[in-house]
Point group: C2
Chain length 234, copies 2
DNA sequence: ACATATTTTTAGATTAGTCTAAATATTTAT
DNA sequence: ATAAATATTTAGACTAATCTAAAAATATGT
């Protein structure tokens, strides 16, 4: 197994690729549910078996990356959270690189970034960050954590959940799957477009909207996967 | 273990990171000795034990990447050679990227390229190649194989082996270690500099040369690690 | 409350890659 | 040509990461 030293929040830890993938999964699950993360949920996310998860969770727990209460689930420690953010930072910076510099489409970058995020070199990621002009968000609108794990909180709401008449900049997608992103490309809806909600169809919950002034009719499923930045009314 | 399909010379093969590193080592050893490569030589190159080499060689042999005669050593098959060149291509393209785009010094890129060379994505490496303007050589002057394993043969000679009075462009280094590259930086000797040999010191074999017109005195050890492109006298 | 269903953990096996120590083959030197 | 030295392979063990099947804990429904 390949071990290379890295620094997370000032604490030197060495993690295998598998450990990193688990930590990242746990982070993502932790965010949406905010309770303890269940073994089955991790297994589902990682496309693996619950028994494998139990094994890995034990190891991560011994390393101080997660808190584990038998039969009750896991949560990230501060070190684990920092580690997760470090990997997410790398993943998103590489995604920016692939789209901005190498001309990949935004639906093609995930698999490669999934590999690149594990390259171990602090100098590399800092120089990459500079080369890209210190981007704040990735091609899908997701924020890029800073070196020490901070990130800008965007006040955003799903298009399906804003009141009719609301308007704002499209700042992200919830689903990053190829079919969805390709749909958006085809319908010329992109990050940073200005969107107004015009009317909601009672029957199917579909939405009449304006994208940069152009009228578009989208299903409720589409609307449930697009984020709008909402200006707080003062 | 992580397996991702890749294409080498039209033949789909999946190789682990470890297999790739072995194949690359065998390729490098094969080139200098051109006889069969010995188990101990591979163990030395890979910083591992002969018994581990034997195991891996068996696996590579079953996969059709090397020919193995028990107790006699190994040589690469055509598929193995193509695989090695594919990895070397990636390694050197990434080195160019690190130096040209991310501002790494030429003595800092090897370790990171050693990781990046294993990223599996044909699209990635083709787009990277284009992004870099299809470079023919890496920062150390080593040629970059084309997608299908061809590369330009440079007629080059070690500075220590050319006759006195010979002159030509410095096209590469034999040793790529940090101390040697830093020495060259310090003494302002770089790839593409024009070098003339003036005189050889009988006593220690050291060499008086001119680098872009500037007089420099270098030891025989330095001269034995610098390549000059020699113009064939017609 | 208690039986049933679900979730989680344990036990034991498997594969890749490595190691040490011992056995075997080859090379070298007398 | 034989013995000694060297090189290579085999045998057996170890760790990391996974799996299946079975056991144990927790949650759910009536
Ligand atoms: Mn990954
Ligand atoms: Mn993304
Ligand atoms: Mn490598
Ligand atoms: Mn190089």
């Amino acid at each position: 197994m390949l071990y290379i030293k890295c620094i997370f929040g000032g604490v030197k830890k060495t993690m295998t690729r598998s450990e990193e993938n688990y930590i990242k999964s746990i982070y993502h699950l932790d965010k949406v549910e905010s309770a303890m993360v269940s073994t089955n949920a991790i297994a589902e996310e990682m496309q693996t078996k619950p028994s494998s998860v139990t094994d890995m969770v034990k190891k991560l727990s011994e390393k101080g990356m997660v808190n584990h209460k038998r039969y009750k689930g896991v949560s990230l420690t501060e070190i684990g959270r920092k580690a997760a953010l470090s990997i997410i930072r790398k993943h998103r910076l590489w995604e920016v690189f692939l789209v901005e510099k190498l001309d990949f489409a935004w639906d093609e970058v995930h698999e490669v970034a999934e590999q690149l995020e594990h390259i171990k070199s602090d100098a590399l990621i800092e120089k990459l960050d500079a080369h890209l002009g210190f981007p704040r968000v990735d091609p899908h609108g997701d924020p890029i954590p800073s070196k020490d794990g901070e990130f800008k909180k965007v006040i955003k709401k799903l298009l399906s959940e804003v009141e009719i008449g609301a308007e704002g900049v499209c700042v992200g997608v919830k689903d990053s799957s190829t079919p969805f992103l390709k749909f958006l490309d085809k319908n010329k809806i992109a990050i940073n477009d200005y969107i107004k909600t015009i009317e909601k169809e009672e029957f199917d919950g579909s939405l009449y909207i304006e994208v940069n002034g152009r009228k578009v009719h989208i299903s409720n499923q589409i609307a449930s996967n697009l984020y709008l930045e909402i200006k707080e009314a003062e």
